[in-house]
């Protein structure tokens, strides 16, 4: 049922690589492959998490994006300082749509931009004094903030500011956690290192804060929901399913999350991990230190949701197992109706994905529920373990592309001619101008949620809206159309 045969796909990759100079070609060839679901380990056929070739259009972000934008940013009751020049914070402000409840500017600060706005003199004389002053001012203006994280931008690392000492001093003075993060953008090859730095900072300065505090009353059904950033309300759509089956969600990391939820997570019974890439470091740490088991789950599309709910329930007693069946049963008719409505309109369409984190593999099930087929997938910043998990989900002879360049992706799309491309905002308009329907899959194209049963209904509607939009018939000028 696949679009291309293995030889065709391999020939396509070779053809696309033709234009590169020899050295770049050799390097890029390792990142592109034709999928074979029988391969056990991704490292045998694909290289990932390497530095992009200079001169190509990469779609990757930086360590600051991974730390401030992804992991720390959604923690709503802390103030996250973009320490450095004003641009990094301003241009990423609220772009990820991590929804939260609360009064912005009073007790929550998610969509606000706090920056130390480096000027020439801060670069020359150092920005530590400014940072101190800033934290003092914030204490006066926003006394309900629960803590501060200092997210370094590139210059801070280049001039060698000692933000750790400022953090230490201010932690003492304000009696709130002030966390310094060395997530300068030039570190690492992609935002993936930012996730790791952010995870390590939570491990070192947040989690131990309640190690000796046993006042929290736990129940046998406590779970922590980690790696869900509540994009367009995703975490809420996931949380209600867990609560309906009888579990108690004591921490949401980090979408709509709070500092105390971060601190409470080790007291859960199971750590449910959605985005493996950005939170697995913490999951592994909590397993080692607190004996808290973790499991990955997938809340995209009814098939995978049912599978995940049963998998989660299997870790608990019969009450939860019954709860899971009840939840699946409850939404079954609703989901059947969604599929009956949209599947005939979407059946057999081909999709190419190029996103980050967990999506290229997690959404496959949702597309398949709608009768659609994934013909190519790739990650911006995945590591081998992500591809290990992806290979099994993808069909035979489909394309796998790691850190694909702008040129390669365009060429693949031109040749494969998928019916839908799912990628980021930078690619959106290129493909729409090529006449190919496109969904921005980083923040669900300003829609969402896509997680959970409620999310699937929205997902199906959005895909139909994009694919069957009448505008795709209007691409040819009327006078050029055959009469």
């Amino acid at each position: 049922m696949c679009a291309m045969k293995r030889e065709e796909a391999e020939a396509l990759i070779q053809e696309v690589l033709e234009v590169y100079p020899e050295k770049a070609r050799k390097d890029r060839a390792k990142h592109l492959t034709v999928n074979d679901p029988n391969v056990e380990q991704a490292k045998k056929c694909l290289v990932s998490n390497r530095k992009s070739v200079p001169g190509v259009m990469t779609i990757r972000g930086c360590a600051y994006a991974g730390s401030k934008g992804v992991v720390w940013g959604p923690i709503k009751d802390m103030i996250h300082i973009s320490h450095g020049p004003v641009g990094c914070g301003q241009y990423s402000r609220a772009g990820r749509r991590n929804y939260y409840t609360g009064h912005t500017g009073v007790n929550t600060f998610g969509t606000m931009n706090f920056t130390s706005d480096f000027q020439e003199k801060d670069i020359v004389f150092g920005g530590d004094k400014k940072l101190e002053k800033m934290i003092d001012e914030m204490e006066t203006l926003f006394p309900l903030s629960k803590g501060v994280s200092i997210q370094s931008e590139c210059p801070v690392g280049l001039i060698g500011d000692d933000i750790e000492s400022v953090a230490k001093k201010k932690t003492k003075e304000t009696d709130k956690p002030v966390v310094a993060l060395r997530c300068e953008g030039f570190r690492g090859v992609s935002q993936s290192l930012g996730h790791h730095i952010a995870n390590d900072a939570i491990r070192d300065s947040v989690l131990p804060r309640r190690d000796d505090d046993h006042s929290f009353e736990s129940t046998p059904y406590d779970v922590a929901l980690t790696g869900d950033y509540n994009i367009g309300g995703d975490a809420w759509a996931s949380r209600i399913l867990l609560e309906e089956m009888g579990l108690r969600v004591i921490a949401q990391w980090s979408g709509d999350g709070t500092l105390s939820e971060l601190e409470l997570a080790p007291k859960a019974k199971v750590n449910l991990l959605h985005c493996y890439r950005s939170m697995n470091y913490l999951a592994r740490h909590m397993e080692e230190k607190y004996g808290l088991p973790w499991m990955e789950y997938n809340f995209f599309g009814p098939t995978k949701i049912a599978e995940s709910l049963r998998k989660i329930a299997s870790l608990f007693d019969d009450k939860i197992k019954e709860g899971a069946e009840r939840v699946i049963e409850k939404y079954q008719s609703e989901m059947d109706a969604v599929i009956a409505k949209y599947r005939p309109r979407l059946e057999g369409r081909k999709v190419m994905l190029y996103v980050g984190g967990l999506r290229p593999r997690h959404v496959i099930g949702a597309y398949e529920d709608l009768g659609m087929e994934i013909v190519g997938a790739g990650y911006e910043f995945a590591h081998n373990d992500d591809y290990d998990r992806t290979i099994k989900e993808m069909g035979d002879a489909t394309l796998l592309y790691d850190d694909v360049t702008g040129y390669e992706l365009e060429e693949f799309v031109k040749r494969v001619r998928p019916d839908l491309v799912g990628s980021g905002i930078k690619e959106k308009y290129i493909f729409q101008k090529m006449g190919i329907p496109f969904r921005q899959m980083h923040s669900w194209d300003y829609s969402g949620p896509y997680h959970g049963y409620d999310g699937f209904a929205i997902f199906a509607r959005d895909m139909d809206m994009t694919l069957n939009n009448p505008c795709w018939d209007k691409l040819q000028a009327p006078w050029k159309k055959a009469a």
């Binding site: 998490n49 790791h196 470091y281 592994r284 397993e287 080692e288 004996g291 590591h383 081998n384 373990d385």
Partner: protein
């Protein structure tokens, strides 16, 4: 001397090196029995490492320093 995390999995024990993105199954370990744990280990991909032997089997997962052989 990479820092590695040893964990129990469905298929035995896993050997995880975060820095290198390496997660492999341990196929053999020199001392597994009670009284002694660790020593020379072989991974599924054929590479060999050495863990300082311990008197008791530790609670897994555990992060240790391993020597590459």
């Amino acid at each position: 001397m990479p820092s590695v995390m040893i964990n129990k999995t469905e298929s035995g024990m896993s050997f995880y090196v975060p820095k290198k993105d390496l997660e492999e199954t341990i196929v053999s370990m020199e001392h597994e029995g009670p009284g002694r744990w660790g020593g020379e280990i072989t991974l599924a991909d054929g590479s060999r490492y050495f863990l300082e032997p311990m008197d008791e089997a530790p609670r897994l997962p555990i992060t240790l320093r391993a020597k590459r052989l």
